[in-house]
């Protein structure tokens, strides 16, 4: 079932939590609401669930207007950040809760609950109490409980927020798999861009109650719509400089920028991701900057370098693949030249343009 949100605005006192938000989640999609804390993402999720009511705007499930419906009438599955398990009930009774309040017969409840517990890989733990489970297991009980009532959609608030890194990585994979199996429209809230990009079909980036950008992970990653998105979704090197006559000058770096052919010089910022920086032992490309390697971390699939640039007074992060890294034979303390293969230049009041050099 699809979710269609139109012009949602929600204020808490003088704070604007949602500011004219519009978006659509097609049926069966797995969608991430990504943003820093206070960006309104959790409020948006709660408005979709009916836990919060917007001041202005509409929420539609498919073609049904549910704006003024209670959570009970909306039939959504909601998984809370801290799971909100009923601690006086066993795992079985927690999962069965939604069926019990609908007065379903035991002959229906028992097989359904057992089947769900198998689905979330908690078979055999049905007699335990929440306090006897690990964080990851509680998370899965919460998920099974939400799924038991065959919700029209699944909403998850920071589903992995309270777990440690290892369990979190496992559960992400598993959520992705689970979604393939049950294929119910799923929206989850996260502040972790890695999580959003790894799990979701589509990512909606929010800031200050507004949607900054929405698209597939690839689109958002490759074509960030604003400096905020660029900054938020990744470790990025930022160069400040000016543009004039179709060229951006960032210290000794020169980047073509034909969108600004005017003669008037204006401030501009260039964003370059670590893997978009190339290095060599001698000056190369049209322009390059000189720096000293301060740190080398060859662990992982990429070699990560930190290069101090006197010119910019900052450290640059550079990711190199291992072949290139060993070919150059780099070590801490070496002088090296850096040049971007690609940069995104933002001039205030104009939009971003991508340039390959």
């Amino acid at each position: 079932m699809s979710i269609v949100i139109k012009n949602l605005t929600k204020r808490f006192g003088s704070m604007v939590a949602l500011n004219d938000v519009c978006f659509e989640a097609p049926a069966g999609e797995l969608l991430a609401l990504l943003g820093p804390s206070g960006s309104g993402k959790t409020t948006l999720l709660r408005v979709i669930a009916g836990l919060e009511f917007a001041d202005v705007g509409t929420v539609k499930f498919e073609n049904e207007d549910v704006t003024h419906r209670s959570p009970k009438e909306r039939q959504v599955g909601f998984v809370f950040q801290h799971y909100a398990l009923f601690r006086h009930m066993t795992v079985f009774e927690n999962v069965a809760f939604g069926l019990r309040v609908r007065h379903r017969p035991n002959s229906e409840v028992t097989p359904r609950v057992m089947q769900l517990l198998e689905l979330v890989r908690l078979g055999g733990l049905e007699k335990r109490y929440p306090s006897q489970l690990s964080g990851g297991q509680r998370q899965r009980v919460a998920l099974a409980r939400a799924l038991a009532v065959q919700p029209r959609m699944l909403l998850l608030d920071e589903p992995f927020g309270a777990l440690d890194a290892k369990v979190r990585a496992e559960l992400r994979q598993w959520l992705r798999q689970l979604h393939e199996e049950i294929h119910v429209t799923t929206v989850f809230v996260t502040h972790d861009q890695e999580e959003a990009f790894e799990v979701a079909d589509r990512v909606v980036v929010m800031q200050k109650g507004r949607i900054e950008q929405s698209g597939s992970p690839q689109e958002v990653f490759d074509h960030p719509a604003s400096p905020f998105v660029m900054d938020f979704i990744g470790n990025v090197n930022v160069f400040h400089g000016r543009v004039q006559h179709g060229k951006a000058h960032m210290g000794s770096l020169q980047i073509d920028y034909p969108d600004y052919p005017q003669a008037e010089s204006r401030e501009a910022t260039a964003y370059v991701r670590p893997h978009e920086l190339d290095v060599d032992k001698a000056p190369f490309a049209k322009s390059s900057i000189c720096g000293r390697i301060t740190q080398v971390n060859p662990a992982g699939s990429l070699a990560k370098l930190r290069i101090w640039s006197d010119e910019f007074g900052m450290a640059l992060n550079v990711d190199l693949d291992h072949d290139r890294f060993s070919a150059l034979g780099l070590a801490s303390g070496d002088m090296i030249y850096v040049s971007p293969r690609r940069a995104r230049v933002f001039v205030p009041e104009t939009t971003e343009v991508d340039y390959s050099i």
Partner: protein, 304 residues
């Protein structure tokens, strides 16, 4: 809620409740009405009634009863000795026991806490009886006391002892959570800086627990002044000799001096209202102190 006009008092949901916690409006009003009625019938009207009856014929007769009746005056005098002595004893014990329980780990610690609670569970009448069994004329130590010509029943010492027993848990029960929350860090620091035990106690421990201690003293005093059952058992009930204020109320009532009984009762009721007012003020103080503490701790944790 700052936008609400001052003159429109709000009836309805408390700030911070969420949509899913809301009941229908009629139910909210019904529950509030029921709760307010309960309080009116059980608490407010009875309190008003004491004063209404006592001052039925104006202030004059009340003053007459309170200050012209030698027996009533002497009951105030007796309670004025018994209650403070009992409170002081329990403050000393409360400080020692709370220090022991919150600052050290030793076998039997949980048992100690349980024993401290026992007086809560003992009927005041039984408390009086227990002391009679030991110190009364037919008690285990009765013959011994008689040989010293000491009459336990009716003595002020008997009243002090039962009152102390009945109010024993109050101070220590208030101090334990406060001292637990504050923790030993500041005291350890003081000792490591070379303070001796008394310096530490007067300069660190006492200032930290002062509001909690005062709160305990207030509760303990209210109970000590009002104690009836236990005092009844060990008192000789001779007016002017062994009658505390609550016993005096009963004696006046029994001798059909209803006005006098209500006048004395009004004084006690007034005392309990004052107790309540002080208690509220202190609760704010202790709460503010604990909040400050929690905030300081949170800041330290955040810094780490």
């Amino acid at each position: 809620m700052h936008s609400l006009p001052r003159h429109a008092p709000k009836v309805g949901l408390a700030a911070g409740t969420r949509n899913a916690q809301h009941e229908p409006l009629w139910l909210q009003y019904a529950l509030i009405t029921a709760a307010v009625s309960t309080m009116l019938v059980l608490v407010v009207v009875p309190v008003i009634y004491v004063f209404a009856v006592a001052f039925q014929k104006g202030v004059g007769p009340v003053i007459q009863v309170l200050f012209r009746d030698a027996d009533t005056l002497s009951s105030f005098y007796l309670t004025g000795i018994v209650a403070p002595v009992a409170v002081i004893a329990n403050v000393l014990f409360g400080l020692a026991a709370a220090w022991t329980i919150t600052r050290f780990r030793f076998p039997g610690r949980a048992l100690l806490t349980t024993i401290i609670d026992l007086p809560f569970a003992v009927s005041p009448v039984v408390a009086g009886l227990m002391l009679l069994l030991i110190l009364g004329r037919r008690g285990y130590l009765g013959p011994l006391l008689e040989s010293y010509d000491f009459q336990f029943v009716g003595s002020w010492i008997a009243l002090v002892l039962v009152t102390t027993f009945v109010t024993l848990p109050f101070v220590v029960r208030e101090l334990i959570p406060v001292m637990e929350a504050i923790g030993p860090d500041e005291e350890i620091a003081a000792i490591s800086l070379g303070a001796n035990g008394w310096q530490m106690f007067w300069r660190i421990t006492l200032p930290n627990i002062k509001w909690g201690l005062l709160y305990g003293i207030i509760l303990c005093s209210a109970r000590a002044i009002g104690e009836f059952g236990a005092a009844y058992v060990v008192s000789s009930r001779v007016s002017g000799e062994s009658e505390t204020v609550p016993l005096r109320v009963q004696k006046l009532l029994e001798s059909y001096k209803t006005e006098g009984a209500f006048a004395v009762a009004a004084v006690l009721a007034l005392l309990s209202l004052i107790t309540l007012a002080i208690k509220i003020a202190l609760e704010h103080k202790t709460q503010a102190d604990l909040n400050e503490l929690a905030q300081a701790k949170a800041e330290v944790e955040a810094a780490e």
